[in-house]
C-alpha cells in the first residue's frame, strides 16, 4: 500500500509539471528570408512584419495557448542557401510551418523539398501566379488580381496603345502575357514589347524604341535594383509617358529612392502600401513604426507577411491543432480570413491563394501617392477557373496561361 501511495503522490506532483511543460511547447515557425544580398531591400520589411505579428500574437496568448517561436535563417538572396536551410529546418528544427521566399526561383528551389517532406509552406510574395500545390499557400497577389484592375482603367484614361517593358524571365514574361491578353480583350493594341535581361541597367535604346512606337502608356514590369535604373534614365530623357505596373513602388519603394520626378505618373496596383489612409492601415503603421521606427518603407509584402501569420493562426485555431495535415484541411475548408492592414482578406480553398483589396496608387510629381480607386475583395480566380481545385484533388505543380492544368 505504501508503495502505491508513494507512487500516487509522485504522480500527483510530476503530472502537473509535465503537463505545464507540454503546454508551453512553442509553435515553431521557420522563416527563410533574405536579410542580405540583392533582395534584402524588399525583404527586410517582410521579416519585420512577420516578427511584429508574432510578437502581437504572443502577447495575446499565442496560438492555442502556445507561443510562436520564430526560427529565421538569412538566405542571403542565394538559391542554394534556400535549399540548404529548408533542409535544415525540416530535418533538424522540425517547424510546424515554414514561411519564406522572395524570388520565384527561391520558391521553386524549395518547393520540391517541401513537397517531399509534406511540409506546410506559405509563400508571402506577389509573383507570376500558377502554383497549384497542396503543401503551398500563397498570400501574395497574382497577375489576374493586379492587371485585370489596372490595365482596363489605364486604357480608359489614356488610350489603347500599350508598350510593355518586362524583365526577361518567368515573372516578366508571364506578366507580359497577362497584359497582352487583357489589352486585347479591351480592344487595344500592343505598340511593342521588350524583354530586358536581369543584368541590364542601361536603357538608352529601349527609351528610343518607346519614343518611336508612340504608345499611350508604358507597362513597366521591371525587377531588381539594376533594372530600376530605367526610371531615372527615362526621366532624364524626358520620355514623359504615363506608366503602369504591378510590381513597382509596392515592393521596392522606388518612389522613395529616386528623386522626383523620376516616377511621376506611375500607376501601380498593390494590395497595400504605406500611403493607404484607412483606419486599419493607420493602426498597422502605428504599431509597425513603434517597433521599427527606422523602417524605410512598409511595403505590400510586409502586409502580406503580417496577414500570413494571422491566417495561419486562424487556421490552426479552426483545426484546434498545429498538425500540418489538420491545418491544411482547415484552410481547404474555406472561411479562413483575417482583418489586417488592407481590410478583410480570405484564403481561397481551391487555389490556396488569397483574395485582396487592390489599391490603385498614382505617383504624383513630387512622389506623393493618391488613390483614385480601390477595388475590394478581388479573388484569385484564374487557377480555379483553369482547373486547379486543391480542396478536392492534390497537385504539386506550377501552371501558366500557356500551360494550364490538364482537364
Amino acid at each position: 500500500m505504501n508503495k502505491i501511495r508513494r507512487m500516487a503522490i509522485a504522480c500527483a506532483f510530476t503530472l502537473p509539471v509535465a503537463m505545464s511543460v507540454m503546454a508551453v511547447e512553442p509553435v515553431k515557425l521557420g522563416l527563410l528570408e533574405d536579410q542580405s544580398g540583392n533582395f534584402s531591400l524588399a525583404v527586410i520589411p517582410k521579416i519585420h512584419a512577420t516578427q511584429l505579428a508574432i510578437d502581437e500574437i504572443n502577447a495575446k496568448g499565442g496560438i492555442l495557448g502556445r507561443p510562436i517561436k520564430l526560427i529565421h535563417y538569412d538566405t542571403q538572396s542565394d538559391n542554394t542557401k534556400f535549399q540548404e536551410f529548408a533542409r535544415r529546418l525540416i530535418q533538424t528544427d522540425k517547424p510546424e510551418v515554414i514561411f519564406g521566399g522572395f524570388s520565384s526561383a527561391s520558391r521553386e528551389a524549395i518547393r520540391p523539398i517541401m513537397d517531399k517532406a509534406k511540409q506546410l509552406y506559405f509563400y508571402n510574395n506577389q509573383y507570376e501566379g500558377g502554383v497549384c500545390d497542396s503543401n503551398v499557400f500563397v498570400t501574395g497577389a497574382v497577375p489576374e488580381q493586379q492587371f485585370s484592375t489596372l490595365v482596363p482603367w489605364l486604357m480608359e484614361k489614356y488610350g489603347k496603345r500599350v508598350y510593355t517593358i518586362a524583365a526577361d524571365y518567368n515573372f516578366g514574361q508571364i506578366s507580359a502575357e497577362w497584359v497582352r491578353k487583357i489589352v486585347k480583350e479591351n480592344g487595344g493594341t500592343m505598340a511593342g514589347e521588350e524583354f530586358i535581361p536581369l543584368s541590364v541597367n542601361q536603357f538608352g535604346q529601349t527609351i528610343q524604341n518607346i519614343q518611336k512606337a508612340k504608345p499611350d502608356f508604358v507597362m513597366t514590369l521591371l525587377v531588381g535594383n539594376l533594372q530600376s535604373a530605367y526610371f531615372e534614365q527615362q526621366a532624364a530623357a524626358n520620355l514623359n509617358l504615363p506608366m503602369g505596373s504591378s510590381i513597382q513602388v509596392g515592393q521596392a519603394y522606388e518612389h522613395k529612392r529616386f528623386k522626383p520626378p523620376a516616377l511621376k505618373n506611375m500607376y501601380v496596383t498593390p494590395n497595400y502600401i504605406e500611403e493607404v489612409d484607412s483606419p486599419a492601415s493607420n493602426d498597422f503603421k502605428k504599431r509597425f513604426k513603434a517597433k521599427y521606427p527606422n523602417e524605410p518603407y512598409i511595403s505590400q509584402e510586409a502586409a502580406n507577411a503580417y496577414d500570413a501569420v494571422y491566417i495561419y493562426k486562424a487556421a490552426a485555431e479552426k483545426a484546434k491543432s498545429t498538425d500540418m495535415v489538420a491545418v491544411r484541411k482547415a484552410l481547404e475548408g474555406g472561411g479562413i480570413c483575417t482583418d489586417g492592414p488592407q481590410g478583410k482578406v480570405c484564403m481561397d480553398p481551391k487555389s490556396h491563394h488569397m483574395s485582396h483589396t487592390i489599391y490603385l496608387a498614382h505617383v504624383q510629381d513630387d512622389h506623393s501617392i493618391k488613390f483614385p480607386k480601390v477595388w475590394n475583395d478581388i479573388q484569385p480566380y484564374w487557377l480555379g477557373e483553369a482547373g486547379c481545385n486543391l480542396a478536392v484533388k492534390a497537385d504539386y505543380s506550377q501552371y501558366t496561361p500557356s500551360n494550364p492544368p490538364k482537364k
Partner: protein, 301 residues
C-alpha cells in the same frame, strides 16, 4: 512658301540626321559605360596584374560619397571629384593593408579582393541600409526629330575620352607617369635606379581606385544607389580590359569602341538580350582572333 520638294527633302534630311545621331548616341552611351567601368581596372589589373574583384566596391564608394556630399549642398562637379578622391583614399588604405602583401602571388589577390568585396557590401548594408535616395540626372533633355535625349548622357562619352586623354598625359608626360611605367615593367631595375617602388605601387593602385570611383560618381545620378550597385560594372570592366590587352591606353579605347559598337548595334537591331549575349560572344571571338588583346595590334616594340 516652300515648294513641296523642299519640305520633302528637309523631312528626309531630318529623318536621316535623327537616325544617324540616335545611333551615334546609343554607341556613345555604350562606349562611355565600357570605358569608364574599365579604366580603374585597367590600371589595377592591366598594369599591376592584381585581379581586383573589389572593383565594384570602389565604384560604389565613389557613387555613395558623391550622393552624400551633393545632398549636403556641395555642387555636383565638386561632389563627383570628392567621390573619386574618397575612392582613391580607400584604395590606398586597401593597398597598404592587403594588396601590398600579394604582389608576388597575384592569384591570391582573387580571394583577398573577393573577401574585401563581401565585407564591404555587407557592412554597407548593415550600416547604411539597403539603399539611399539618389540624385537627379543633371542638365535636361534635348529633342531631335521624334526622339528626346538626355543631355548628360550625350556628354558622357566626351567625359570618358577626356579622362582617357588625361590618363595619357599623366602616364606619358609627367614624372610620375615615367616612374609608374618603369616600375611596372621592371620593378627590380626601377628600384636599382632609385625609385621608391612601394610608394609608386601605392599611388598607382590609388589612381586605379580613384578612376573606378569616378565611374561611380559619373553614373550615380543615373542608377540606383544600393550596396551592390558596383556589381553591374565588374563584367564590362573585365571584358573590356582583357579584350584591350595589357596596354592600358592603347587597349581600352579600341576595345571599348569595338565592343560598344557591337553591343549598341545588336541592341538596336535585336533587343537587349541580343546586345548582352552579343557583347560576351564578341569578347570570346576577339580574344580568339587576337590572343594578346587588341592593344597588341597597336603596340610598337
Amino acid at each position: 512658301m516652300d515648294c513641296p520638294g523642299a519640305t520633302f527633302s528637309k523631312g528626309l534630311a531630318m529623318t536621316l540626321l535623327t537616325t544617324v545621331y540616335s545611333f551615334l548616341y546609343q554607341f556613345g552611351d555604350s562606349f562611355a559605360y565600357l570605358t569608364l567601368s574599365a579604366l580603374g581596372l585597367a590600371v589595377i589589373f592591366g598594369m599591376m596584374g592584381v585581379i581586383n574583384l573589389a572593383h565594384g566596391e570602389f565604384v560604389m564608394c565613389g557613387a555613395y560619397v558623391t550622393i552624400l556630399t551633393a545632398k549636403a549642398g556641395v555642387p555636383l562637379p565638386l561632389a563627383m571629384l570628392t567621390g573619386a578622391l574618397a575612392a582613391a583614399c580607400v584604395g590606398a588604405i586597401l593597398e597598404y593593408l592587403v594588396v601590398r602583401h600579394l604582389y608576388n602571388r597575384l592569384f591570391d589577390s582573387i580571394v583577398a579582393t573577393w573577401a574585401v568585396s563581401l565585407i564591404t557590401q555587407q557592412a554597407m548594408l548593415i550600416f547604411a541600409g539597403p539603399s539611399i535616395e539618389g540624385l537627379s540626372t543633371p542638365f535636361n533633355s534635348f529633342e531631335l526629330g521624334d526622339y528626346s535625349f538626355s543631355t548628360y548622357r550625350a556628354l558622357l562619352p566626351f567625359f570618358a575620352i577626356a579622362v582617357l586623354a588625361g590618363l595619357y598625359l599623366l602616364f606619358f608626360r609627367t614624372n610620375y607617369g615615367v616612374y609608374a611605367r618603369a616600375t611596372i615593367q621592371n620593378a627590380q631595375m626601377a628600384k636599382c635606379l632609385g625609385l621608391r617602388t612601394p610608394r609608386i605601387y601605392s599611388m598607382t593602385f590609388a589612381l586605379g581606385a580613384g578612376l573606378a570611383g569616378l565611374a561611380g560618381a559619373l553614373y550615380a545620378p543615373t542608377i540606383t544607389a544600393v550596396p551592390t550597385m558596383g556589381s553591374s560594372f565588374i563584367v564590362p570592366a573585365f571584358v573590356t580590359v582583357v579584350t584591350g590587352g595589357a596596354n592600358v591606353l592603347l587597349g581600352v579605347l579600341p576595345a571599348a569602341g569595338f565592343l560598344g559598337l557591337i553591343q549598341s548595334g545588336m541592341t538596336a537591331a535585336f533587343g537587349q538580350l541580343a546586345g548582352q549575349i552579343g557583347l560576351l560572344i564578341t569578347v570570346i571571338f576577339v580574344i580568339r582572333l587576337l590572343p594578346m588583346g587588341m592593344g597588341h595590334l597597336f603596340n610598337r616594340r
